[in-house]
Amino acid sequence: MYRLTGVTKRYTRGKETVEALRGIDLTIEDGDQLVIQGPTGGGKSTLLQMIGGLDRPTEGSVELDGVDLARISETKLTRVRAENIGIIFQSFNLIPTLTAQENVETALVPLGVKPAERRERAAEALRSVGLGERLGHAPAELSGGQQQRVAIARALVKKPKVLLADEPTGNLDEGTRDDIMALLEGLWREHGLTFIMVTHDSSIARRAPRLATIKAGQLTVTEQQPSYGGQQQYAQYGNQGGY
């Protein structure tokens, strides 16, 4: 469970201090799905960085299962990211020189998984997102949707407790967007993950059971009924595998 208390983040740019987050309080239960929406520069990505342990707040605490990510050492924080948090990026962030399988393997490197097991688990993760035939392809040889599937496989191969997605469909066309969303919804349901996603896409935001809107560093959380279809609606796009 996540518990954010009074999270404030200030950046200093020259003589100017920018307050990206202002005293955010937020609780996210295990297995919840939360969509964070807001205008550009509103602080959504900054909030995701705090939740993912990618950055530390200036004030306040970010507790994951009782551990304050704002206070633990860098080594421990790195370990938390390696074991518990899977992250999906808008631009996929694949290593261009590595194959799809090797890219997925990079998530297992910090866990000390042996090469043979690493390869096997990476191949299985790619099969679960429908890329069983593309293991040896370089990112440049894959479409945008396929690259994001590789990124999803990389995020999930270590079986994390939390899946964070920063505008995962931001660089995809509408059809591919729906495929990816269906895949993510299916995986969330199947694995009971805590799924937190940043998006500026209102149609995706409407589907979420819980919507957090951030504006000028301040957060408003809304419990909502999915506007159409809900979780079942994603199923019609097809769950790509049993991962």
Binding site: L48, G53, L98
Partner: protein, 488 residues
Amino acid sequence: MFGIYLKRELGRRKKAALVIALGLALGIALVITVNSVSAGMTQAQDKVLKSLYGLGTDMTVTKAQSAPKAGSSQGPNFKFDAKSSSKTTQSSDRVMTQGGQALASSLVTKVAAQKGVAEAVGAITLNVTKVDGSFTQGKAQSSTSGSSQQQGGPGGGTGSSSGGQPQVQGGGANFSVNSYSVAGIDVTNQDLGPLATSKITSGKTFTASQTDAKVAVISKSYAKSKKYKVGSTFKISGTKFTVIGIATPDSSESTTDVFIPLKQAQTLGDSKNKVTTIYVKATDSKQISTVKKTIQKNISGTTVTTSADLASTVSGSLSTASNLATSVGKWLSIAVLAAAFLVAALLTSSAVSRRVREFGTLKALGWPSRKVTRQVVGESMVNGLIGGGLGIALGLAAAYAVTAISPKLTAQLGNTGGGGGMGGGPGGGGPGQQSASSTMEIALSAPVSLTTIALAVGLAVTGGLIAGAMGGWRASRMRPADALRSVS
């Protein structure tokens, strides 16, 4: 993963990797070339010194130079008869001990007995100036018609007289002067001394029993100029010697033309029981300076010259090139290496900056900083090693080219009498005590030692480490949040 990732990244950045590797290669090649040329210079200097000293000679002992006494100037003195017959060839040899000052032979034993001295032999060096030629008598003619002709004396030219006195016309002198050096050596120990630098390429060398025999070994160049062969005979100051061997010096030029037994040389030089130089071999080459001090302390009136002392007197293009190699070459190598290291470090750092999102992503995935740093350092190390390999190849090629071309360098050995430059020309007290100034031509080579190769590998690794440390430091400071930046 480390190896695969490293290989792929280097493959992706071939151009940048090549620029870094070539920069390092250039610096390393320069270091190898300068080092090997310097080694060649040292070898050349050693050759020059050995040609003077003899193989295995660590130092020489000569008489300390003293200022010439007033009125004691002894220029060459040639005596010719004023013979009555016209066009009679006359010859006169002037034999002088080199340096004009000699040591008692008994000092050889004394020097040999000093602590740290393995062996010592004495030798005497003579300068022989041979004057050959003839006088032509002039003829006296009366200025009046029908006068009788009278012969003029030697050296007469055209005399003039007035009032009908006879005038001397015609006559004169035609003489050639030939100088060469003669070394009187201890035939019972030829491994040390002037002949030790030469190999007998024709005939044979002295036997131990020929201590007072009228036999000679002559240098190849002198034999060629005089058309002497084994079995030829020649005279020095009236004494007839038979050539028993032709000696070819190890270096390109010898400073001695004729070698004869020591006793014969002493007789010729009117220096019975005297030597001009004592050649000394130390028991330990590392103790040479100590032995030098011991000899100078215990045997007064002597000058001890080591090869190190002698090296400082080498001048000419060899010295200039040597100075260039050790000063300009060394600093040029350092400058190029420093520039190469800097360029490698900046390029690596720049490459890391372009990979912000990549390294940020790895950190976001949970890669610890040390793993990211190791990846960057690993890539730099491989670049460094590639540069090292290229540099060694380039350096070896350059050293091979220098050896193949074998540029000729001249070395001038100055006077080393230690007496404050007392050497002078004939008539001024004789040439310098140890050796007259002599010029030698040496072919330069550029030997590459294993130490030089090890140095090159060390530099390559250092270059890689410096660049890697810079890039790794930048990579380690990147935040995982950088993965969310939109730069590509």
